[in-house]
């Protein structure tokens, strides 16, 4: 396992694009999630009346336990960057034909795929660790009086966040394995959610129960939109077994389809 991960990291760590894309991802992720309060202050300064109708200090976006769900939800938007990195990593192997050479040199096709999956696990894990640290730090900074019983509430969404990232990266990997060309794969990855939303709107009237089983919808369902609670609405602030089960099933299928494709094709 570790050996396979090391092989894939050996390929990536000398690849400049990898550092640029991952650097951009983690820096953007850190700055955006940590600067929400500054953003609100900027809004209050710039737009007259914003501050008077709404006391920004009373919006508890960074207060425990809200901070967990808030930051996790918005971090989810950035996963597309990691997805693009996964696409580049796998389509390079087809473009350079190094997948073929790797197999000739003694990797099984499964081991090759596993090395890519393990990198996805690592990137997902790093995202979770990063958001965990930022949420914890900003929570401590902005929460007026820290009540330790609230600090760790809602932390279970970190699990959902991990599945969200990993499922999406598995999806990106599968697209790369099937399409094999980086440009086309990236375009499809960017359009996939939109295409699914079109399907969703069309089946909404006839089979609404089916919607939660759509692949990208299942990923989006893991972490609910949190801001509605500040408009005095009830939101789901707990994980649901069904959303996790559906997303995990898709994650398994994405990787299984990738494996089947690799196994049965001449490379």
């Amino acid at each position: 396992m570790v050996h396979l991960l090391k092989i894939d990291l050996k390929k990536l760590t000398s690849y400049r694009t990898f550092w640029i894309v991952c650097g951009l991802y983690f820096i953007t992720l850190a700055f955006t999630t940590a600067s929400g309060m500054e953003f609100l202050k900027w809004l209050a300064r710039t737009f007259e009346g914003f501050g008077s109708s709404l006391n920004i200090n009373r919006i508890p976006i960074y207060h425990f336990p809200d901070v967990w769900l808030n930051l996790i939800y918005f971090s989810g938007f950035f996963k597309i960057i990691l997805g693009i990195m996964t696409v580049i990593s796998i389509t390079n192997e087809f473009q350079y034909r190094t997948l073929r050479q790797n197999v000739i040199d003694g990797l099984s096709r499964w081991q090759f795929l596993a090395s890519k999956i393990l990198t996805n696990v690592l990137l997902s894990f790093l995202s979770v660790a990063m958001i965990m640290v930022i949420s914890f730090a900003t929570g401590l900074i902005y929460t007026p009086s820290v009540n330790w019983t609230y600090v760790f509430a809602d932390m279970e969404f970190l699990i959902a966040y991990f599945i969200e990232i990993f499922a999406f990266l598995s999806f990106a990997l599968m697209l790369g394995v099937f399409i094999q060309r980086s440009g086309l794969t990236i375009i499809l990855l960017l359009l996939a959610r939109m295409l699914e939303l079109i399907i969703r709107e069309n089946i909404d009237e006839y089979v609404p129960w089916l919607i939660e089983f759509l692949p990208l919808e299942s990923i989006a369902n893991l972490v609910p939109m949190p801001l509605e609670r500040y408009a005095f609405q009830e939101i789901r602030d707990y994980l649901t077994v069904s959303s996790i089960a559906i997303a995990l099933a898709w994650t398994f299928l994405f990787n299984y389809f990738s494996y089947m494709k690799l196994k049965h094709s001449d490379i």
Binding site: H3, K6, I7, K10, K11, S14, Y15, R16, Y96, R97, T98, R100, Q101, N102, V103, I104, D105, G106, L107, S108, Q111, H264, S265, D266, I267
Partner: protein
Amino acid sequence: METVLTISNLTKHFGRIKAVNNLNLEVQRGQVFGMLGPNGSGKTTTLGMLMGVVNPTAGQFSWFGEPPTHHIRKKIGAVLEHPIFYPYLSGQKNLELNAMIKQCPAENIPNVLDLVELTERKDDKYRTYSLGMKQRLAIASALLNDPTVLILDEPTNGLDPMGIAEIRELIRKIAANGKTIILASHLLDEVQKVCTHFCVLRRGDLIHTGPVGSVGSGAETVEVIADSENTYEILMSFAGANDIHRENGSFQVALRDGFDSKDLNKFLFEKGVVASHLVTKKKSLEKQFLEILAGS
């Protein structure tokens, strides 16, 4: 003798195209085995199946008497078609990666780099290498795990004459160490120069297999040039002449069994013709090859 590779009824169809058809072959330890055939005759497809990148339609093969697994591939060094490496990694890093995949110690890297004379350029990116250097790096990578079997597919393709000579010298050096080498090529001369055994493929069918030595032991051809106006008629009257044809101002005389160039020379002298040029030519693999192709 120990059998390294056994292929039985190996078949690969791409749609309607039969790339490899019911191939049966054996390669013994220590052989330098040439696979000859025109382009598109199924050589690379066969090697692709042997190395696990092409899924056979039917048939089996075994390495060292065992069914193939990815572990066995680690003990076989192979370069198929053209060299494949990560262009953005240096030669050294590419070899380090290959050592990880083959699970062999990285200490071998300086040795193989020395062998292919790439030590000076090892820290340059692969994409800056010339074609000859790329081929040599591929051979270095194939040798990394000290394999008992080496598979080379058109190793001199696209190289200049000096590069070709270097690679051939390298192959001979490696063969001298007792390694089994399987060499696919459409260059007959290459196979004749380095191989001990060979097979001929045509459109996926195996049409000949045997040692290279036996090819040269067939009937002799003698090349004759003489300053006589009726050389042709005189040669025609020689009892040992099987076939005569003109080629670039010389006569190619194919001899019957039991006759040799000495007999021909004596005959010409007796007829009052002095040959200014008389060369005995073993039947070349090229001739044999063309005959095999024509005969099948």
